[in-house]
Protein backbone atom coordinates (compact mmCIF):
# COMPACT_ATOMS: atom_id res chain seq x y z
CA UNK A 1 0.00 0.00 0.00
CA UNK A 2 1.48 3.30 -1.07
CA UNK A 3 1.83 6.50 0.88
CA UNK A 4 -1.08 8.02 -1.05
CA UNK A 5 -3.44 5.16 -0.17
CA UNK A 6 -2.32 5.30 3.43
CA UNK A 7 -3.12 9.01 3.62
CA UNK A 8 -6.51 8.47 2.03
CA UNK A 9 -7.16 5.70 4.56
CA UNK A 10 -6.23 8.01 7.39
CA UNK A 11 -8.50 10.75 6.06
CA UNK A 12 -11.37 8.26 5.88
CA UNK A 13 -10.59 7.12 9.42
CA UNK A 14 -10.57 10.73 10.65
CA UNK A 15 -13.84 11.43 8.90
CA UNK A 16 -15.40 8.31 10.42
CA UNK A 17 -14.26 9.20 13.94
CA UNK A 18 -15.35 12.83 13.60
CA UNK A 19 -18.76 11.78 12.28
CA UNK A 20 -19.30 9.14 14.98
CA UNK A 21 -18.18 11.53 17.72
CA UNK A 22 -20.27 14.42 16.43
CA UNK A 23 -23.42 12.29 16.13
CA UNK A 24 -22.94 10.59 19.54
CA UNK A 25 -22.15 13.79 21.42
CA UNK A 26 -24.80 15.71 19.47
CA UNK A 27 -27.55 13.22 20.35
CA UNK A 28 -26.64 13.33 24.01
CA UNK A 29 -26.51 17.13 24.03
CA UNK A 30 -29.93 17.15 22.37
CA UNK A 31 -31.22 14.80 25.09
CA UNK A 32 -29.96 17.17 27.80
CA UNK A 33 -31.67 20.13 26.16
CA UNK A 34 -34.92 18.14 26.08
CA UNK A 35 -34.60 17.15 29.75
CA UNK A 36 -33.87 20.75 30.76
CA UNK A 37 -36.79 22.07 28.71
CA UNK A 38 -39.13 19.50 30.30
CA UNK A 39 -38.08 20.62 33.78
CA UNK A 40 -38.76 24.24 32.91
CA UNK A 41 -42.39 24.06 31.80
CA UNK A 42 -44.61 26.39 33.89
CA UNK A 43 -46.56 23.38 35.19
CA UNK A 44 -43.39 21.62 36.32
CA UNK A 45 -42.02 24.73 38.06
CA UNK A 46 -45.38 25.32 39.78
CA UNK A 47 -45.59 21.70 40.96
CA UNK A 48 -42.02 21.59 42.29
CA UNK A 49 -42.37 24.98 44.00
CA UNK A 50 -45.56 23.86 45.74
CA UNK A 51 -43.91 20.60 46.87
CA UNK A 52 -40.94 22.55 48.26
CA UNK A 53 -43.22 24.96 50.12
CA UNK A 54 -45.08 21.98 51.60
CA UNK A 55 -41.82 20.40 52.76
CA UNK A 56 -40.62 23.68 54.29
CA UNK A 57 -44.02 24.00 56.00
CA UNK A 58 -43.57 20.56 57.61
CA UNK A 59 -40.02 21.55 58.63
CA UNK A 60 -41.37 24.66 60.39
CA UNK A 61 -44.40 22.88 61.85
CA UNK A 62 -42.13 20.38 63.62
CA UNK A 63 -40.17 23.27 65.14
CA UNK A 64 -43.35 25.05 66.22
CA UNK A 65 -45.26 22.06 67.62
CA UNK A 66 -42.49 19.88 69.11
CA UNK A 67 -40.18 21.10 71.92
CA UNK A 68 -36.48 21.24 71.02
CA UNK A 69 -34.57 18.10 71.95
CA UNK A 70 -37.74 16.01 72.43
CA UNK A 71 -37.65 12.34 71.49
CA UNK A 72 -40.16 11.57 68.76
CA UNK A 73 -41.52 8.45 67.11
CA UNK A 74 -42.59 8.80 63.52
CA UNK A 75 -45.67 6.77 62.81
CA UNK A 76 -44.81 4.06 60.27
CA UNK A 77 -41.10 4.95 60.11
CA UNK A 78 -40.42 2.56 57.22
CA UNK A 79 -43.23 4.05 55.16
CA UNK A 80 -41.71 6.48 52.71
CA UNK A 81 -44.19 9.39 52.98
CA UNK A 82 -43.90 9.51 56.77
CA UNK A 83 -40.15 8.91 56.75
CA UNK A 84 -39.93 12.56 55.70
CA UNK A 85 -40.93 13.53 59.24
CA UNK A 86 -37.83 11.84 60.67
CA UNK A 87 -35.67 13.62 58.08
CA UNK A 88 -37.16 17.03 58.81
CA UNK A 89 -36.90 16.50 62.59
CA UNK A 90 -33.11 16.35 62.30
CA UNK A 91 -31.20 18.87 64.42
CA UNK A 92 -34.41 19.71 66.36
CA UNK A 93 -35.99 16.55 67.73
CA UNK A 94 -34.49 13.06 68.18
CA UNK A 95 -36.30 10.32 66.20
CA UNK A 96 -36.60 6.98 67.99
CA UNK A 97 -36.81 3.54 66.46
CA UNK A 98 -39.31 2.45 69.09
CA UNK A 99 -42.48 4.14 70.29
CA UNK A 100 -41.64 3.14 73.88
CA UNK A 101 -38.66 5.54 73.95
CA UNK A 102 -40.48 8.55 72.49
CA UNK A 103 -42.13 11.51 74.20
CA UNK A 104 -44.11 12.47 71.12
CA UNK A 105 -45.68 10.58 68.28
CA UNK A 106 -45.69 12.30 64.87
CA UNK A 107 -47.98 11.35 62.04
CA UNK A 108 -49.34 12.83 58.83
CA UNK A 109 -53.06 13.12 58.22
CA UNK A 110 -54.08 13.60 54.59
CA UNK A 111 -56.71 16.19 53.70
CA UNK A 112 -60.29 15.01 53.41
CA UNK A 113 -60.77 12.92 50.30
CA UNK A 114 -57.04 12.19 49.83
CA UNK A 115 -54.88 9.18 50.70
CA UNK A 116 -51.28 9.49 51.87
CA UNK A 117 -50.09 7.81 48.63
CA UNK A 118 -49.67 9.57 46.30
CA UNK A 119 -48.51 12.25 48.67
CA UNK A 120 -51.30 14.83 48.65
CA UNK A 121 -50.54 18.33 47.52
CA UNK A 122 -53.37 20.86 47.41
CA UNK A 123 -53.52 24.56 46.74
CA UNK A 124 -54.32 25.37 50.37
CA UNK A 125 -51.90 27.98 51.76
CA UNK A 126 -49.46 26.42 54.25
CA UNK A 127 -50.09 27.13 57.95
CA UNK A 128 -47.19 25.60 59.89
CA UNK A 129 -48.39 26.96 63.25
CA UNK A 130 -51.34 24.56 63.01
CA UNK A 131 -49.39 21.86 61.22
CA UNK A 132 -51.46 22.31 58.05
CA UNK A 133 -49.26 21.97 54.98
CA UNK A 134 -51.13 22.07 51.67
CA UNK A 135 -52.88 18.72 51.77
CA UNK A 136 -51.34 17.08 54.84
CA UNK A 137 -51.57 17.95 58.52
CA UNK A 138 -48.82 17.20 60.98
CA UNK A 139 -50.35 15.52 64.02
CA UNK A 140 -48.28 15.66 67.22
CA UNK A 141 -49.45 13.52 70.17
CA UNK A 142 -47.76 13.54 73.56
CA UNK A 143 -47.40 10.07 75.00
Amino acid sequence: MGEHSRRIGKRIGCAGIISAAAVTLGLSVHHDLQVTAAALTPASIKQETAALRQEECLYRAIRLLVPKGATVYVNAPRFQPTQRLAELSTSWAVPQASLANAQYRLSLVPAHGYGIVPFPLTGTPPDPAHGQCSGVTLEVRRR
Binding site: C14, D32, I45, L52, R84
Partner: protein, 477 residues
Protein backbone atom coordinates in the same frame (compact mmCIF):
# COMPACT_ATOMS: atom_id res chain seq x y z
CA UNK B 1 -27.93 33.22 43.70
CA UNK B 2 -27.37 32.36 47.38
CA UNK B 3 -25.84 29.01 46.47
CA UNK B 4 -23.64 30.73 43.89
CA UNK B 5 -22.50 33.15 46.59
CA UNK B 6 -21.58 30.24 48.90
CA UNK B 7 -19.83 28.49 46.01
CA UNK B 8 -17.75 31.52 45.14
CA UNK B 9 -17.15 33.09 48.56
CA UNK B 10 -17.54 30.18 50.95
CA UNK B 11 -15.78 27.50 48.91
CA UNK B 12 -14.06 29.15 45.94
CA UNK B 13 -12.20 31.88 47.80
CA UNK B 14 -10.54 29.56 50.37
CA UNK B 15 -9.74 27.12 47.56
CA UNK B 16 -8.33 29.67 45.13
CA UNK B 17 -4.74 29.78 46.36
CA UNK B 18 -4.35 25.98 46.50
CA UNK B 19 -5.97 25.79 43.04
CA UNK B 20 -3.51 28.34 41.65
CA UNK B 21 -0.62 26.48 43.26
CA UNK B 22 -1.69 23.24 41.63
CA UNK B 23 -2.95 24.33 38.21
CA UNK B 24 -1.30 27.74 37.76
CA UNK B 25 -2.94 29.69 34.90
CA UNK B 26 -4.91 26.78 33.51
CA UNK B 27 -8.62 27.43 32.94
CA UNK B 28 -9.30 24.49 35.25
CA UNK B 29 -8.57 26.80 38.21
CA UNK B 30 -12.04 28.35 37.87
CA UNK B 31 -13.69 24.97 38.51
CA UNK B 32 -11.04 23.48 40.76
CA UNK B 33 -11.12 26.20 43.44
CA UNK B 34 -14.71 25.48 44.64
CA UNK B 35 -13.98 21.74 44.59
CA UNK B 36 -10.93 22.30 46.78
CA UNK B 37 -13.13 24.40 49.09
CA UNK B 38 -15.65 21.54 49.25
CA UNK B 39 -12.80 19.12 49.91
CA UNK B 40 -11.65 21.25 52.83
CA UNK B 41 -15.24 21.41 54.14
CA UNK B 42 -15.39 17.60 53.94
CA UNK B 43 -12.11 17.28 55.83
CA UNK B 44 -13.61 19.65 58.42
CA UNK B 45 -16.63 17.34 58.72
CA UNK B 46 -14.29 14.35 59.23
CA UNK B 47 -12.58 16.33 62.02
CA UNK B 48 -15.98 17.31 63.43
CA UNK B 49 -16.96 13.66 63.67
CA UNK B 50 -13.61 12.32 64.82
CA UNK B 51 -12.30 15.03 67.12
CA UNK B 52 -15.14 17.46 67.81
CA UNK B 53 -16.07 21.06 67.20
CA UNK B 54 -18.43 22.58 64.71
CA UNK B 55 -18.23 22.82 60.94
CA UNK B 56 -17.53 26.58 60.71
CA UNK B 57 -14.67 26.40 63.25
CA UNK B 58 -13.16 23.23 61.78
CA UNK B 59 -13.55 24.53 58.24
CA UNK B 60 -11.82 27.80 59.13
CA UNK B 61 -8.96 25.85 60.73
CA UNK B 62 -8.56 23.55 57.70
CA UNK B 63 -8.79 26.42 55.18
CA UNK B 64 -6.26 28.59 57.05
CA UNK B 65 -3.86 25.65 57.48
CA UNK B 66 -4.10 24.66 53.81
CA UNK B 67 -3.58 28.22 52.59
CA UNK B 68 -0.62 28.79 54.94
CA UNK B 69 0.92 25.53 53.71
CA UNK B 70 0.50 26.68 50.11
CA UNK B 71 2.06 30.07 50.86
CA UNK B 72 4.98 28.37 52.64
CA UNK B 73 5.48 26.02 49.68
CA UNK B 74 5.23 28.92 47.23
CA UNK B 75 7.92 30.87 49.10
CA UNK B 76 10.15 27.83 49.61
CA UNK B 77 9.87 26.56 46.05
CA UNK B 78 10.60 29.97 44.53
CA UNK B 79 12.01 29.71 41.04
CA UNK B 80 12.16 25.93 41.13
CA UNK B 81 8.38 25.79 40.76
CA UNK B 82 7.40 23.96 37.57
CA UNK B 83 6.89 26.34 34.68
CA UNK B 84 3.48 26.89 33.17
CA UNK B 85 2.93 24.91 29.99
CA UNK B 86 -0.46 25.52 28.48
CA UNK B 87 -2.48 27.48 25.96
CA UNK B 88 -2.39 31.24 25.55
CA UNK B 89 -4.55 33.35 27.82
CA UNK B 90 -7.14 34.06 25.11
CA UNK B 91 -7.68 30.31 24.58
CA UNK B 92 -8.03 29.86 28.32
CA UNK B 93 -10.65 32.61 28.39
CA UNK B 94 -12.52 31.09 25.44
CA UNK B 95 -12.46 27.68 27.15
CA UNK B 96 -13.82 29.07 30.42
CA UNK B 97 -16.54 31.07 28.65
CA UNK B 98 -17.69 28.11 26.53
CA UNK B 99 -17.66 25.66 29.46
CA UNK B 100 -19.49 28.10 31.76
CA UNK B 101 -22.07 28.84 29.05
CA UNK B 102 -22.77 25.15 28.46
CA UNK B 103 -23.03 24.50 32.20
CA UNK B 104 -25.41 27.45 32.51
CA UNK B 105 -27.77 25.79 30.01
CA UNK B 106 -28.19 22.75 32.26
CA UNK B 107 -28.11 24.75 35.49
CA UNK B 108 -31.07 26.72 34.17
CA UNK B 109 -33.17 23.73 35.28
CA UNK B 110 -32.58 24.82 38.90
CA UNK B 111 -35.39 27.33 38.33
CA UNK B 112 -37.63 24.34 38.98
CA UNK B 113 -36.85 23.64 42.67
CA UNK B 114 -37.25 19.87 42.78
CA UNK B 115 -35.75 17.83 45.62
CA UNK B 116 -35.12 14.18 44.79
CA UNK B 117 -35.74 11.31 47.19
CA UNK B 118 -32.07 10.74 48.09
CA UNK B 119 -31.50 14.49 48.27
CA UNK B 120 -34.00 14.55 51.14
CA UNK B 121 -33.48 11.25 52.89
CA UNK B 122 -29.68 11.23 52.71
CA UNK B 123 -28.06 14.50 51.83
CA UNK B 124 -30.36 17.11 53.42
CA UNK B 125 -30.64 14.96 56.56
CA UNK B 126 -26.85 14.59 56.79
CA UNK B 127 -26.35 18.31 56.10
CA UNK B 128 -28.55 19.10 59.10
CA UNK B 129 -26.51 16.67 61.22
CA UNK B 130 -23.20 18.22 60.12
CA UNK B 131 -24.65 21.69 60.78
CA UNK B 132 -25.59 20.63 64.33
CA UNK B 133 -21.99 20.03 65.48
CA UNK B 134 -20.05 17.04 66.80
CA UNK B 135 -22.65 15.62 69.21
CA UNK B 136 -25.52 15.99 66.75
CA UNK B 137 -23.48 14.39 63.96
CA UNK B 138 -22.21 11.49 66.07
CA UNK B 139 -25.55 10.62 67.69
CA UNK B 140 -27.42 11.20 64.45
CA UNK B 141 -25.26 8.79 62.45
CA UNK B 142 -25.47 6.18 65.24
CA UNK B 143 -29.24 6.56 65.65
CA UNK B 144 -30.94 3.43 64.24
CA UNK B 145 -33.99 5.55 63.39
CA UNK B 146 -31.84 7.13 60.66
CA UNK B 147 -30.75 3.82 59.11
CA UNK B 148 -32.76 4.67 56.00
CA UNK B 149 -30.38 7.55 55.30
CA UNK B 150 -27.25 5.43 54.63
CA UNK B 151 -25.34 7.02 57.54
CA UNK B 152 -22.01 5.63 56.28
CA UNK B 153 -22.03 7.86 53.20
CA UNK B 154 -19.10 10.33 53.03
CA UNK B 155 -19.46 13.96 54.12
CA UNK B 156 -18.47 16.22 51.20
CA UNK B 157 -21.98 17.05 50.02
CA UNK B 158 -23.48 17.37 53.53
CA UNK B 159 -20.58 19.61 54.54
CA UNK B 160 -21.14 21.91 51.55
CA UNK B 161 -24.87 22.02 52.34
CA UNK B 162 -24.22 22.69 56.03
CA UNK B 163 -21.85 25.51 55.09
CA UNK B 164 -24.59 27.06 52.94
CA UNK B 165 -27.03 26.82 55.87
CA UNK B 166 -24.40 28.48 58.08
CA UNK B 167 -24.42 31.45 55.69
CA UNK B 168 -28.16 31.74 55.05
CA UNK B 169 -30.03 29.61 57.60
CA UNK B 170 -32.80 27.12 56.82
CA UNK B 171 -35.27 29.52 55.20
CA UNK B 172 -34.82 27.71 51.89
CA UNK B 173 -34.17 23.95 52.10
CA UNK B 174 -33.41 23.81 48.39
CA UNK B 175 -30.13 25.60 49.09
CA UNK B 176 -28.45 22.26 49.85
CA UNK B 177 -29.63 20.87 46.49
CA UNK B 178 -28.34 23.97 44.71
CA UNK B 179 -24.92 23.44 46.31
CA UNK B 180 -24.79 19.80 45.17
CA UNK B 181 -25.74 20.74 41.62
CA UNK B 182 -23.21 23.58 41.44
CA UNK B 183 -20.45 21.30 42.71
CA UNK B 184 -21.43 18.70 40.10
CA UNK B 185 -21.17 21.46 37.49
CA UNK B 186 -17.69 22.36 38.75
CA UNK B 187 -16.60 18.72 38.48
CA UNK B 188 -17.90 18.64 34.91
CA UNK B 189 -16.01 21.89 34.31
CA UNK B 190 -12.80 20.13 35.36
CA UNK B 191 -13.58 17.34 32.86
CA UNK B 192 -14.36 19.90 30.16
CA UNK B 193 -11.16 21.89 30.66
CA UNK B 194 -9.25 18.60 30.63
CA UNK B 195 -10.72 17.76 27.22
CA UNK B 196 -9.93 21.29 26.03
CA UNK B 197 -6.34 20.75 27.17
CA UNK B 198 -6.00 17.72 24.86
CA UNK B 199 -6.15 20.09 21.89
CA UNK B 200 -4.15 22.95 23.35
CA UNK B 201 -0.98 21.86 21.54
CA UNK B 202 -2.70 21.34 18.21
CA UNK B 203 -3.63 23.46 15.20
CA UNK B 204 -6.48 25.92 15.42
CA UNK B 205 -9.20 23.49 14.15
CA UNK B 206 -8.14 20.97 16.79
CA UNK B 207 -8.31 23.64 19.48
CA UNK B 208 -11.78 24.64 18.34
CA UNK B 209 -12.83 20.98 18.37
CA UNK B 210 -11.35 20.60 21.84
CA UNK B 211 -13.24 23.60 23.21
CA UNK B 212 -16.43 22.37 21.53
CA UNK B 213 -15.86 18.92 23.05
CA UNK B 214 -15.33 20.58 26.43
CA UNK B 215 -18.66 22.35 26.17
CA UNK B 216 -20.42 19.24 24.88
CA UNK B 217 -19.23 17.04 27.73
CA UNK B 218 -20.76 19.47 30.24
CA UNK B 219 -24.16 19.06 28.60
CA UNK B 220 -23.66 15.31 28.16
CA UNK B 221 -22.83 14.99 31.86
CA UNK B 222 -26.17 16.46 32.88
CA UNK B 223 -27.91 14.32 30.24
CA UNK B 224 -26.61 11.00 31.63
CA UNK B 225 -26.86 12.24 35.22
CA UNK B 226 -30.28 13.81 34.86
CA UNK B 227 -31.16 13.23 38.54
CA UNK B 228 -28.28 15.49 39.54
CA UNK B 229 -30.50 18.51 39.04
CA UNK B 230 -32.72 17.36 41.95
CA UNK B 231 -29.79 16.87 44.29
CA UNK B 232 -28.48 13.37 43.60
CA UNK B 233 -24.73 13.25 44.11
CA UNK B 234 -23.83 10.48 41.66
CA UNK B 235 -22.89 12.94 38.93
CA UNK B 236 -20.57 14.74 41.35
CA UNK B 237 -18.48 11.69 42.27
CA UNK B 238 -18.62 10.36 38.71
CA UNK B 239 -17.53 13.64 37.10
CA UNK B 240 -14.78 14.11 39.71
CA UNK B 241 -13.53 10.58 39.02
CA UNK B 242 -13.64 11.22 35.25
CA UNK B 243 -11.68 14.42 35.90
CA UNK B 244 -9.08 12.34 37.75
CA UNK B 245 -8.84 9.96 34.79
CA UNK B 246 -8.56 12.72 32.17
CA UNK B 247 -5.94 14.71 34.10
CA UNK B 248 -4.05 11.76 35.56
CA UNK B 249 -4.36 9.05 32.92
CA UNK B 250 -4.86 10.88 29.60
CA UNK B 251 -3.14 14.28 29.56
CA UNK B 252 0.66 14.47 29.23
CA UNK B 253 2.77 13.90 32.35
CA UNK B 254 3.03 17.08 34.38
CA UNK B 255 2.97 18.04 38.05
CA UNK B 256 -0.07 20.26 37.36
CA UNK B 257 -2.06 17.45 35.78
CA UNK B 258 -1.08 15.10 38.60
CA UNK B 259 -2.19 17.62 41.22
CA UNK B 260 -5.56 18.18 39.54
CA UNK B 261 -6.06 14.40 39.25
CA UNK B 262 -5.32 13.85 42.94
CA UNK B 263 -7.77 16.58 43.99
CA UNK B 264 -10.47 15.12 41.74
CA UNK B 265 -9.85 11.64 43.16
CA UNK B 266 -10.09 13.02 46.71
CA UNK B 267 -13.40 14.75 45.86
CA UNK B 268 -14.81 11.49 44.41
CA UNK B 269 -13.66 9.52 47.46
CA UNK B 270 -15.43 11.90 49.86
CA UNK B 271 -18.70 12.07 47.91
CA UNK B 272 -19.97 8.47 47.83
CA UNK B 273 -18.74 4.99 48.75
CA UNK B 274 -18.48 3.91 45.12
CA UNK B 275 -16.51 7.11 44.56
CA UNK B 276 -13.95 5.92 47.11
CA UNK B 277 -13.46 2.52 45.45
CA UNK B 278 -13.26 4.09 41.99
CA UNK B 279 -10.82 6.74 43.25
CA UNK B 280 -8.57 4.03 44.68
CA UNK B 281 -8.50 2.23 41.32
CA UNK B 282 -7.66 5.47 39.52
CA UNK B 283 -4.96 6.39 42.04
CA UNK B 284 -3.27 3.00 41.65
CA UNK B 285 -3.33 3.44 37.85
CA UNK B 286 -1.91 6.96 38.15
CA UNK B 287 0.83 5.59 40.40
CA UNK B 288 1.63 2.95 37.78
CA UNK B 289 1.59 5.46 34.92
CA UNK B 290 3.82 7.93 36.74
CA UNK B 291 5.98 4.95 37.81
CA UNK B 292 6.95 5.82 41.37
CA UNK B 293 6.72 2.13 42.21
CA UNK B 294 9.38 1.03 39.76
CA UNK B 295 11.80 3.91 40.18
CA UNK B 296 15.23 2.96 41.52
CA UNK B 297 16.10 4.23 44.97
CA UNK B 298 16.25 3.32 48.61
CA UNK B 299 13.45 1.06 49.79
CA UNK B 300 12.21 3.62 52.32
CA UNK B 301 11.85 6.25 49.62
CA UNK B 302 10.03 3.85 47.32
CA UNK B 303 7.57 3.07 50.09
CA UNK B 304 7.10 6.76 50.83
CA UNK B 305 6.29 7.35 47.18
CA UNK B 306 3.79 4.50 47.21
CA UNK B 307 2.06 6.14 50.15
CA UNK B 308 2.09 9.53 48.47
CA UNK B 309 0.76 8.34 45.12
CA UNK B 310 -1.93 5.95 46.26
CA UNK B 311 -2.94 6.52 49.85
CA UNK B 312 -2.35 10.23 50.45
CA UNK B 313 -4.98 11.61 48.03
CA UNK B 314 -7.49 9.06 49.35
CA UNK B 315 -6.55 9.59 53.01
CA UNK B 316 -9.56 11.79 53.94
CA UNK B 317 -11.94 9.28 52.35
CA UNK B 318 -10.22 6.35 54.03
CA UNK B 319 -10.28 8.23 57.37
CA UNK B 320 -14.03 8.74 57.03
CA UNK B 321 -14.58 5.06 56.17
CA UNK B 322 -12.48 4.02 59.18
CA UNK B 323 -14.18 6.48 61.54
CA UNK B 324 -17.64 5.47 60.48
CA UNK B 325 -16.94 1.80 61.18
CA UNK B 326 -15.30 2.68 64.49
CA UNK B 327 -18.52 4.34 65.67
CA UNK B 328 -20.45 1.20 64.73
CA UNK B 329 -22.09 2.28 61.47
CA UNK B 330 -22.15 -0.15 58.54
CA UNK B 331 -23.47 0.12 55.02
CA UNK B 332 -26.93 -1.15 54.19
CA UNK B 333 -26.04 -3.35 51.25
CA UNK B 334 -24.32 -6.27 52.97
CA UNK B 335 -26.33 -6.53 56.20
CA UNK B 336 -28.37 -9.54 55.12
CA UNK B 337 -27.64 -12.51 52.87
CA UNK B 338 -29.39 -12.59 49.52
CA UNK B 339 -31.98 -15.26 48.80
CA UNK B 340 -31.18 -15.14 45.07
CA UNK B 341 -28.43 -17.23 43.50
CA UNK B 342 -25.24 -15.44 42.37
CA UNK B 343 -26.03 -16.48 38.81
CA UNK B 344 -29.45 -14.80 38.93
CA UNK B 345 -27.95 -11.68 40.42
CA UNK B 346 -25.09 -11.61 37.90
CA UNK B 347 -27.44 -12.01 34.93
CA UNK B 348 -29.77 -9.28 36.12
CA UNK B 349 -26.81 -7.00 36.84
CA UNK B 350 -25.25 -7.49 33.41
CA UNK B 351 -28.59 -6.78 31.71
CA UNK B 352 -29.20 -3.74 33.92
CA UNK B 353 -25.76 -2.25 33.40
CA UNK B 354 -25.72 -2.95 29.67
CA UNK B 355 -28.98 -1.05 29.22
CA UNK B 356 -27.23 2.10 30.44
CA UNK B 357 -24.00 1.62 28.52
CA UNK B 358 -25.31 2.06 24.98
CA UNK B 359 -22.42 4.44 24.34
CA UNK B 360 -19.86 1.67 24.94
CA UNK B 361 -20.02 0.08 21.43
CA UNK B 362 -19.58 3.50 19.81
CA UNK B 363 -16.67 4.32 22.11
CA UNK B 364 -15.10 0.93 21.35
CA UNK B 365 -15.49 1.45 17.57
CA UNK B 366 -13.96 4.93 17.86
CA UNK B 367 -11.12 3.48 19.95
CA UNK B 368 -10.36 0.79 17.37
CA UNK B 369 -10.50 3.26 14.48
CA UNK B 370 -8.38 5.72 16.43
CA UNK B 371 -5.75 3.13 17.31
CA UNK B 372 -5.66 1.96 13.69
CA UNK B 373 -5.45 5.33 11.96
CA UNK B 374 -4.32 7.88 14.55
CA UNK B 375 -1.97 6.16 16.96
CA UNK B 376 0.96 8.30 15.83
CA UNK B 377 -1.13 11.48 16.15
CA UNK B 378 -2.07 10.54 19.71
CA UNK B 379 1.59 9.94 20.55
CA UNK B 380 2.59 13.26 19.03
CA UNK B 381 -0.01 14.95 21.22
CA UNK B 382 1.76 13.26 24.16
CA UNK B 383 -1.52 11.82 25.35
CA UNK B 384 -1.39 8.58 27.30
CA UNK B 385 -2.25 5.19 25.90
CA UNK B 386 -6.06 4.87 25.88
CA UNK B 387 -5.69 1.56 27.72
CA UNK B 388 -5.33 3.51 30.99
CA UNK B 389 -8.75 5.09 30.55
CA UNK B 390 -10.40 1.80 29.58
CA UNK B 391 -8.83 -0.07 32.51
CA UNK B 392 -10.15 2.61 34.89
CA UNK B 393 -13.60 2.29 33.31
CA UNK B 394 -13.65 -1.51 33.44
CA UNK B 395 -12.19 -1.56 36.96
CA UNK B 396 -14.98 0.66 38.26
CA UNK B 397 -17.64 -1.40 36.46
CA UNK B 398 -16.22 -4.64 37.88
CA UNK B 399 -16.37 -3.26 41.44
CA UNK B 400 -19.96 -2.07 40.96
CA UNK B 401 -20.91 -5.40 39.36
CA UNK B 402 -19.36 -7.29 42.28
CA UNK B 403 -21.25 -5.08 44.76
CA UNK B 404 -24.57 -5.90 43.11
CA UNK B 405 -23.78 -9.62 42.99
CA UNK B 406 -22.46 -9.86 46.56
CA UNK B 407 -24.98 -7.45 48.12
CA UNK B 408 -28.00 -8.52 50.11
CA UNK B 409 -30.79 -6.33 48.69
CA UNK B 410 -33.34 -7.76 46.26
CA UNK B 411 -31.47 -7.39 42.99
CA UNK B 412 -34.20 -6.25 40.58
CA UNK B 413 -35.51 -3.40 42.71
CA UNK B 414 -31.95 -2.46 43.68
CA UNK B 415 -30.96 -2.21 40.01
CA UNK B 416 -34.16 -0.37 39.14
CA UNK B 417 -33.37 2.28 41.76
CA UNK B 418 -29.66 2.68 41.20
CA UNK B 419 -28.05 1.26 38.07
CA UNK B 420 -28.84 4.38 36.04
CA UNK B 421 -26.71 6.27 38.59
CA UNK B 422 -23.90 3.79 39.29
CA UNK B 423 -23.05 3.72 35.57
CA UNK B 424 -22.76 7.52 35.21
CA UNK B 425 -18.98 7.34 35.71
CA UNK B 426 -18.53 4.85 32.88
CA UNK B 427 -20.90 6.78 30.61
CA UNK B 428 -19.27 10.18 31.11
CA UNK B 429 -15.83 8.60 30.80
CA UNK B 430 -16.70 6.92 27.50
CA UNK B 431 -18.24 10.13 26.12
CA UNK B 432 -15.03 11.91 27.16
CA UNK B 433 -12.98 9.26 25.36
CA UNK B 434 -15.03 9.91 22.21
CA UNK B 435 -14.50 13.67 22.57
CA UNK B 436 -10.74 13.16 22.97
CA UNK B 437 -10.56 11.02 19.82
CA UNK B 438 -12.60 13.72 18.06
CA UNK B 439 -9.88 16.25 18.89
CA UNK B 440 -7.12 13.88 17.72
CA UNK B 441 -9.04 13.11 14.52
CA UNK B 442 -9.48 16.81 13.71
CA UNK B 443 -5.78 17.37 14.33
CA UNK B 444 -4.95 14.31 12.21
CA UNK B 445 -7.14 15.57 9.39
CA UNK B 446 -5.57 19.02 9.26
CA UNK B 447 -1.92 18.09 9.86
CA UNK B 448 -0.12 17.59 6.58
CA UNK B 449 1.94 14.53 7.44
CA UNK B 450 2.43 12.03 10.22
CA UNK B 451 5.88 13.47 10.85
CA UNK B 452 4.62 16.99 11.40
CA UNK B 453 5.11 17.78 15.05
CA UNK B 454 2.35 19.18 17.20
CA UNK B 455 2.73 22.93 17.45
CA UNK B 456 4.16 24.18 20.68
CA UNK B 457 1.92 25.86 23.16
CA UNK B 458 1.54 29.61 22.95
CA UNK B 459 3.29 30.18 26.24
CA UNK B 460 6.16 27.96 25.11
CA UNK B 461 6.47 30.00 21.91
CA UNK B 462 6.75 33.24 23.79
CA UNK B 463 9.38 31.84 26.14
CA UNK B 464 13.12 31.45 25.36
CA UNK B 465 13.46 27.76 24.61
CA UNK B 466 16.60 26.24 26.08
CA UNK B 467 16.87 24.98 28.67
CA UNK B 468 13.37 23.52 28.89
CA UNK B 469 12.99 20.99 31.64
CA UNK B 470 10.56 18.31 30.57
CA UNK B 471 7.86 17.23 32.90
CA UNK B 472 9.13 13.67 32.89
CA UNK B 473 12.52 14.99 34.02
CA UNK B 474 10.82 16.82 36.84
CA UNK B 475 9.01 13.67 37.87
CA UNK B 476 12.14 11.56 37.84
CA UNK B 477 13.88 13.89 40.28
Amino acid sequence: MRALFVLVVGLGAPGLLPALAVARRSPVVVFLAPLIGALMAAVAAVIELGLGGSLPADYAAVAVTANLAVIAWWLAAGRSRPQWAGPAREWSVVTVVVVLSCLAVSLNALRSPGIGWDANSIWLTHAMMVYGGHHELLTGLQNVAYQFSNPDYPPLVPAAGALAFTFFGFANLHLAVDMTVLLSACALGVVGTGIAATGSRGHQPARIAAVAGAGAICLVGFAVGALAIVGYTDLLWAAAAVGAVIWGLVLPHSPQALGVAWICAAVASLTKNEGLTTALIILVLIALRYRPLSRPGPAARTWAERVAFVVLPALPGLCWAGLIRRIGVHDAFFRSASTESPLTRAGATIAGMAAHLAVAPVALAVLLAGCWFLRADRQRAQLANPAWLWIACLGSLVIIFATYVAGGLEIHSWLLNSVNRTTIFAQVLLYSEIAIWLVIAVEGAVSRADSEPFTRTDSERSRPQPPVRTTSDQLRR
